[in-house]
């Protein structure tokens, strides 16, 4: 696992990055952002050229478009999240065979060895949140998640841009990457600052040729760039005491307005890097059945079914469940917010609902 704490720093050129990429892809299945059909998303990358350098997403509530920009890591976190790889949307957790009235079970663990190339601060925090849900704060840690997670190599990148829906500064997760990576890249003017974050990262950077030791100015430039992004981002709402305020706002009338606008389409929960809810399905034929774990959502009309009846009939009650979970329940369950401020649920809401506005309205309105 990746460590924390700042290690040695180097500076490399664009070519140096490519070398790093190639080094990593020889050992790992490399997951990184790419521009596909007009959208930047994480996918398994085959070549360095697939990285969407010089692209930037223009995002608003329910709106997304990619435009050109100057530089390399000009874009922000991709449209989809890393949970796709660690908590896959569909995963067969066991195979059941039936023979002479007895069953036998085969359990299979995914054995992919991923390198996440280009993880931003919000998504690093999201990984930490997922780790708590599935591993650290769970009495029964999840072996499927664990088997993937423990092998992951993380290349983090500091954001030098932000989009309209980002609110990491509000949630205290970014834009600066602070921990949880193997090494960290910061784009400087024409060169890249690499900082090691773990023993694995250190070894890898050591083996890289054509690098220079980072100079004081490099670190200063990094600080400057981060400050610039940070200061250009507005604080969306106050998080201090937010939980308590929300617990005081369970009353339906607070939620009905958004219930009218929400499609209950589930897109927010599915795009969210920390939403973990799942369903277990059976795919049976006569004597073999597969148990399949698929992403589920508290917005689904059958999510909380009891006695043939969904406990949360109204859309506003489902919205309340989602938002209360993210900003209140989660703290009681896992000790952190369930939201890292990545803004995906805002950009990708077909109804154009802005979560920040809803938090403000419900908690502080």
């Amino acid at each position: 696992m990746e460590g924390k704490g700042k290690g040695k720093g180097y500076a490399v050129s664009h070519e140096g990055l490519r070398k790093l990429f190639d080094l990593l892809s020889s050992e790992y299945e490399l997951v990184g952002p790419a521009l596909k059909e007009g959208v930047i998303s994480y996918k398994v990358l085959r070549s360095f050229e697939e990285l969407p350098f010089g692209c930037k997403s223009m995002e608003l509530a329910g709106y997304y478009a990619v435009e050109k920009a100057d530089g390399y890591f000009t874009y922000v976190r991709p449209s989809n999240s890393l949970k796709t790889f660690l908590h896959p949307p569909e995963l067969t957790i066991m195979r059941v065979k039936r023979e002479n009235g007895k069953l036998s079970f085969e359990y299979e663990y995914p054995d992919k060895k991923y390198c996440f190339f280009d993880v931003r601060a919000c998504d690093l925090s999201a990984l930490k949140v997922l780790d708590m849900v599935f591993l650290h704060k769970n009495k029964n840690p999840d072996p499927y998640y664990a088997s993937l997670r423990e092998k992951v190599f993380i290349v983090a990148v500091n954001c030098t841009n932000h989009t309209n829906t980002c609110f990491c500064t509000t949630m205290g997760t970014g834009p600066e990457v602070k921990e949880g990576y193997d090494f960290l890249i910061t784009e400087l003017d024409g060169r890249f600052l690499l900082e090691e974050g773990s023993e694995r990262g250190r070894r890898l950077l050591e083996s890289l040729e054509n690098k220079e030791e980072a100079r004081q100015e490099d670190y200063e430039e990094k600080e400057r760039r981060l400050k610039k992004v940070e200061s250009s981002m507005k604080r969306a709402f106050e998080t201090e005491g937010l939980k308590e305020r929300l617990y005081g706002r369970m009353e339906e009338s607070f939620w009905e307005p958004v219930g009218k606008r929400c499609l209950a389409c589930t897109a927010c929960t599915q795009s969210c890097p920390t939403c973990f809810c799942f369903d277990l399905l059976e795919r049976a034929s006569l004597d073999v059945s597969e148990r399949v774990r698929v992403w589920d959502s508290c917005f689904s009309p059958s999510f909380a079914t009891l006695h043939r009846f969904n406990l949360r009939q109204s859309v506003h009650s489902r919205y309340r469940q989602w938002l209360m979970h993210k900003f209140a329940y989660w703290l009681d369950q896992f000790g952190t917010f369930g939201c890292v401020g990545c803004g995906r649920c805002i950009s990708w809401c077909p109804a154009g609902i802005d979560l920040r506005e809803e938090v403000k309205r419900v908690a502080y309105g």
Binding site: M94, N138, D142, P143, C277, A304, S317, R320, Q321, H325
Partner: protein
């Protein structure tokens, strides 16, 4: 590698008792230690799993009572002696019986909820509980569970049954459980355990509070949709709690806010 919580264990069906139409009690061979209040996830081929409370235990076996309402429960109810059942567990917390030591313990069971209170009731009979009362409400005569134990229970505790509907065979009480409850003389520091449909739980709490019993002394075992039983699938959430691991038994004052509010 961490242990796989979804791993299913095999248990032989030692005994099957038909309780009433569509409800069967199974004795399943197991060595797993369990506590009253906990439940197992029972698996049925092609259908999936269902949480089923541990109704009791015996030497080397566990007792489950299952009402056939859907695919899993119907498949399980078709099992017969000598068949195999697959399960994982036990899961969940337990009834805090110690809290009733030296005090009055009132148990309220509605319908199949009796399965969830039966074991703790049996335990209570052997515990230093000052007074033990158990009120059991059933919708009709036909649905009464565990008939063979009534005599024994009536000796060890104040055990009363009430039916929602009269029946020619039935000589006992008819009426809602709350009516029975209203008539009951209770110390204010009595401890209450209950399990039944959500509306029954709400109505009983109201009556209890009218009698001066505080919500901190009331415990309810809740039923919610659940898939994983280890606090990861999200289905059973009620407010900040996962019924599967933080419950199914809850001290009422902690969940009241969520339980009594619509659609939480």
């Amino acid at each position: 590698m961490v242990e796989n919580p979804y791993f299913l264990k095999e248990g032989r069906v030692l005994k099957v008792v038909k309780e009433c139409e569509g409800v069967f009690t199974f004795h399943i061979a197991t060595e797993e230690p369990a506590e009253p209040g906990q439940y197992n996830m029972l698996y049925a081929f092609g259908a999936g799993e269902a949480p089923i409370t541990i109704a009791s235990v015996g030497e080397g076996y566990v007792v489950h009572t299952v009402r056939a309402v859907g695919n899993v429960t119907r498949s399980i109810d078709s099992l017969r002696e000598g068949d195999y059942l697959y399960y994982r567990g036990p899961y969940g917390n337990r009834w805090e019986l110690e809290r009733a030591f030296g005090k009055t313990l009132l148990i309220l069971s509605g319908g199949l909820g009796l399965a969830a209170t039966r074991w703790v009731f049996e335990r209570a009979m052997e515990s230093p509980v000052k007074r033990l009362i158990h009120l059991y409400g059933s919708k009709d005569y036909e649905s009464l569970l565990y008939k063979e134990f009534y005599e024994k229970w009536a000796k060890g505790a104040e055990f009363h049954i009430t039916l929602d509907r009269p029946h020619p065979e039935w000589k006992g009480r008819v009426g809602l459980i709350t009516e029975l409850l209203k008539e009951l003389e209770l110390e204010k520091d009595a401890v209450v355990f209950m399990c039944g449909p959500d509306p029954m739980v709400k109505a009983c709490v109201k009556t209890l509070e009218e009698k001066g019993i505080r919500a901190e002394n009331i415990y309810a075992s809740l039923e919610r949709h659940m898939k994983c039983s280890v606090g990861a699938c999200g289905h059973c959430m009620i407010g900040p709690y996962f019924v599967c691991k933080d419950g199914p038994v809850f001290r009422y004052d902690l969940i009241r806010e969520y339980f009594e509010r619509k659609e939480v």
